[in-house]
Symmetry: C2
Subunit: 639 residues, 2 copies
């Protein structure tokens, strides 16, 4: 199997744009060339969203070539704005931006790399209008831009692409009302209605019903089109262009994965069959088949236009190094939840459109009546959990930590005020994986939740700690719990004592050491601390103890006193913003111990929004890799 990945040079885009051919043919060609670059950049990066990029690329190509004024790449300045509210179609958008010269082609090899093109749109990238990736915000943002335009006496179009699953988010419906009341005709929304969300059909997750009637009821002018038929699309754009006194929405029927036959979602079978190309790099076999198809179709079109075939660049697919025998905490969680649910029939699970990622598919199969899919509607999910808890169930609500501890905060607080038991499970926690970008790297969740009365926050440091912590939350904790889970497979060099049972506020020593002690949590940074301690022990003769404290918002003062006794320094280690994580709690507790000879205290963690890049790049960028930590520990102990 070849390792080659094929990229379309900018010169080929220019050649295609100057072909003597019709607008529809040109757009189709450009879109397919963008598809190839999208596919290749994702294959090169090792992750990215193919399906959603492909379903929207025909629309994006048409907008870029024929609709936006000025044409992107032709001129700078205050012309029409286009951006994607859903954000995960970023690779496709990048391909289009590279094609028209807005972005340098080097970006094709730098998707999700430090200093490259972020996994979700960020304004640090030239010509990127706004940060998306957190769903449902785009129409609101467009309204703010329109308000600014009107204040500045300017009027131009703002075109916003949304997903269809995204329309489950309440903010979307909040945002429609004033757009209509204020007659924001400058706004056009295009819904990439590819009928799937994440890996499953929208209609199975949370059927959107009659979308046209809904938008119309909210006062918007509605058009519909085939998002892969340029005649249909351009007619819809023409139709809405004439309506200037109301905001406009074009519902574009599309196919997720459109453009590569076996990646198209139309063949998805019965409910619960998973779509395979939502996120993630294609296998080498899939890549080769897909690239062949795209190249072949493009060359046929070029031939029909009397032009030379494609001249492509090629690059080797970078080798991937997978962890050798990693701990997989979400898989451990899946088993633990099923075990707990088997012994306590009150336990039910709720999910927010992430059932594959949150590890809930086996639970759903085992306990179908006790599983509730809520769609991309975190506020609704959390308050439903609250209602269940009031009626004697033990609801366990799941999402990515970046969403769970940010979208439904008022709802979590309200539930806690009722003093029932609700368990919240936030996966994808922390700065890793670094590829998706800051919308997905959860580094503020501990700060948001840690002060809420009756809510216990815990994070396991290895697969073996998942079950015991979940058990504690379900069986022993009096109130609610937040279980923070790292999703990436991690090599974990330590192990917990046999018959380990978590004790509230008490940690466990993973590695002894008399000079200093580093206290942290989780399977990403504790291994780094372990390696750093080993390095210091071998090279500098310094012995740094490594302690796992899985309790993120409480600490036992007696245990802390014993743990830091006679150590010259205490280092805390947060896979989180350092201003609001576990480390701040530990440092405050040390101050309150009233020690005669307190240790030096230094806190480690993120001090800015997390960088986007490969996992090792991201750790290094924030000084949290073993080498950086070893240097910092050594320096602290030298003074």
């Amino acid at each position: 199997m070849s390792d080659s990945l094929f990229f379309v040079p900018v010169a080929e885009f220019n050649r295609v744009r100057n072909l003597n051919t019709g607008a529809f043919e040109r757009a189709a060609l450009v879109a397919d060339l963008c598809r190839l670059n999208t596919l290749s950049m994702i294959a090169y990066a090792g992750s990215g969203h193919i399906g959603s990029s492909f379903s929207s690329l025909d629309i994006v190509a048409w907008l870029f070539l024929n609709e936006l004024e000025p044409q992107p790449g032709k001129a700078n300045g205050s012309g029409d704005l286009y951006f994607s509210s859903k954000g995960h179609d970023a690779p496709g958008l990048y391909a289009a931006m590279i094609a028209c010269g807005q972005l340098a082609p080097e970006g094709l090899r730098k998707l999700r790399r430090l200093g490259g093109l972020p996994g979700h749109p960020d304004v640090g990238t030239p010509h990127m209008i706004t940060n998306t990736g957190s769903l449902g915000m785009g129409i609101s943002k467009a309204k703010g831009m329109a308000f600014a335009d009107r204040l500045h006496g300017r009027r131009r179009r703002i075109i916003v692409m949304t997903g269809d699953g995204e329309l489950q988010e309440g903010q979307i419906w909040e945002s429609l009302v004033s757009a209509a009341n204020h007659r924001l005709g400058e706004i056009t929304v295009i819904v990439d209605h590819n009928k799937l969300q994440s890996d499953v059909r929208v209609s199975d997750t949370s059927d959107l019903g009659d979308l046209e009637a809904k938008f119309a009821a909210f006062g918007w002018h509605v058009a519909r089109c085939d998002g892969h038929d340029f005649a249909s699309l351009s007619a819809a754009l023409d139709k809405v262009r004439d309506v200037s006194d109301r905001p406009r929405v074009i519902i574009a029927d599309t196919v997720k994965g459109k453009g590569v036959s076996f990646m198209e979602s139309a063949s998805l079978g019965p409910a619960h069959e998973l779509y395979r190309y939502h996120s993630g790099a294609p296998s080498p076999e899939d890549y080769a088949r897909a690239a062949d198809e795209l190249i072949a179709r493009t060359n046929r079109a070029l031939d029909l236009a009397g032009a030379e075939p494609l001249r492509l660049d090629s690059d080797k697919r970078p080798p991937r190094t997978a962890p050798k025998d990693p701990d997989k905490l979400v898989a451990a969680y899946t088993d633990a939840l099923i075990a707990e649910a088997g012994r306590d029939s009150r336990i039910v699970a709720l999910d927010g459109d992430l059932v594959l990622d949150t590890g809930l598919i086996p639970f759903r199969e085992r306990f179908p009546d006790r599983f509730l899919e809520c769609g991309i509607a975190e506020q609704d999910m959390i308050s439903q959990a609250g209602g269940m808890a009031l009626q004697g169930l033990i609801p366990v609500a799941h999402s990515f930590a970046c969403f769970l501890a940010a979208r439904p905060v008022e709802q979590i607080y309200n539930n806690a005020s009722e003093r029932t038991k609700v368990i919240y499970v936030g996966s994808l926690a922390g700065a890793i994986p670094g590829g998706p970008g800051h919308s997905h790297q959860a580094v503020n969740d501990i700060s948001v939740l840690s002060a809420i009365p009756g809510l216990e926050l815990v994070e396991p440091c290895c697969a073996a700690e998942v079950g015991p912590l979940l058990q504690y939350l379900l069986r022993e904790a009096r109130g609610s719990g937040y279980l923070r889970l790292v999703s990436v497979p991690c090599e974990v060099p330590y192990s917990l004592p046999p018959a380990y049972k978590p004790q509230p506020g008490i940690g466990v020593e993973l590695r002894p050491g008399t000079d200093a002690v580093v206290i942290g949590y989780g399977p990403v940074l504790l291994p780094q601390a372990w390696l750093a301690a080993n390095e210091l022990g071998e090279r500098s003769g310094l012995e740094v103890a490594v302690v796992n404290l899985p309790w993120l918002s409480r600490i036992d003062h007696d245990w802390l006193r014993k743990t830091i006794d006679n150590r010259r320094a205490v280092f805390t280690l947060d896979n989180h913003l350092v201003g609001g994580g576990q480390g701040r709690m530990i440092a405050a507790a040390i101050a309150e111990l009233g020690l005669d000879v307190p240790p030096a205290v230094r806190r480690f963690g993120l001090s800015d929004f997390p960088a986007c890049g490969q996992n090792d790049e991201v750790l290094r960028a924030h000084g949290l890799d073993a080498g950086s930590l070893a240097g910092a520990f050594r320096q602290a102990l030298a003074t």
Copy 2:
């Protein structure tokens, strides 16, 4: 003017319920008696929501008397559930619950009192189904209850009252989708469509458009009725009772303040005229007029039914002690914002249906084109602000801190990731006023926001500090800012130095002292600390310095070192949950100073959800009044 307040004894409710009269007449009588008790309990308490209680009371009375199975008060157990999603009509609901015997009549004198009836519904109150006051959660909660019912093999009705302004909240529209898809026929929503939100017309704030079409588009069965005409209401309830395969909504046209002629909103004039009976106790004159009207109408009805006139209890209206010459921080903010906007035309203001409370009416009058009312839609408001900031404006977004730092957290984080400048102003901050209850007492906002990169959190300790801090955020801070404002008028015994200019991370000594130093912020607790320090100085010879640190999430280590130098103890003081406030930052910083002889450190603040009660009750309940603080300081210094 009489000081008498008139209460309807339970015996009179029983008499009326047993009258030989028709169901409509009985319901009207019961509703009016509830209105009198509602009016009187609010007058007795000094605050509460009249308009919304009155608009919903006819519906509530009808439900209680004729619709809910079993009739409330008749039997306990798993019968139909009723609750109000909007929550602020709690006084009316309490009156109905007292009327039917679910609550003891002593509650009439204990609205918003410690140990009494909370300002917004809390499950600590007997028969209260769920905590509301945070808007938009009720339908979601009902769905969770229905899920639990179905799992338990039970089916019963769940009736949820919503407001109409509440329908601007995105969570409402999130919650409608699965209710329809899952055919949750057990749920009936009644919209108290009184056309006003807070103090102004819904149609002026954010017109809801065609509500029936909207609900129908979301798959709900829709009925409409006159919420004050029992024939119309009962017909609507009959109509929806037959529809069991879909959730049902009854849009009840009502009048805010219905039942007392001059309190009814139908006479509201042109846009921007404020409705006067949304919240707050009635003036003695208004009380007397309203009570006379209700009593007269009730006695006419009793006479028509051949019954004796009302026999009422009466009580004196408790005297109110108003602060003598208080600082009013929101008023100071109003002036400061206008001054800043006058010098920088980029500044614009956004509001979320709280324009009177947030002090924005003068700004709106002065700069109408630079003011945007967003309605009860915080997520939408914040992302609009983000869009404005991207386009070069400086948006200042306002709401109560309890909502601002809880509903749109993901949106605030997303804005911050764009590294623009957005200013957030959260008023009603802290545990005071204590009357509304925990849904409104903002004690978690610092924790939620303090770690977000590029977001500066500040709180002024007196009216004179408001302008300088706002200026700092607007003119000097590089990124975004959060200005936390206490809304209650506060007597402030200290003053800032002349020509005071806030320096980042640096505080200002308000009172000297060599034994210990208390560091805090805000005009509620610093005066308590001041009084406590005075008491200790006079009685115990201990000199405790009082220092104002208006920076909630950053501190200058050199300044801190000098401030605590040679003090035996440092006390931190948070008008916030102690686990996540400024005090934790200070304690952590002390640990990191590396002092040879560190002081004892003790943190003060709330350690549980805030109590509901009068302001002084609440402070005492949490040990934050001057007397409690003095005792705690003394004890700490004695050891």
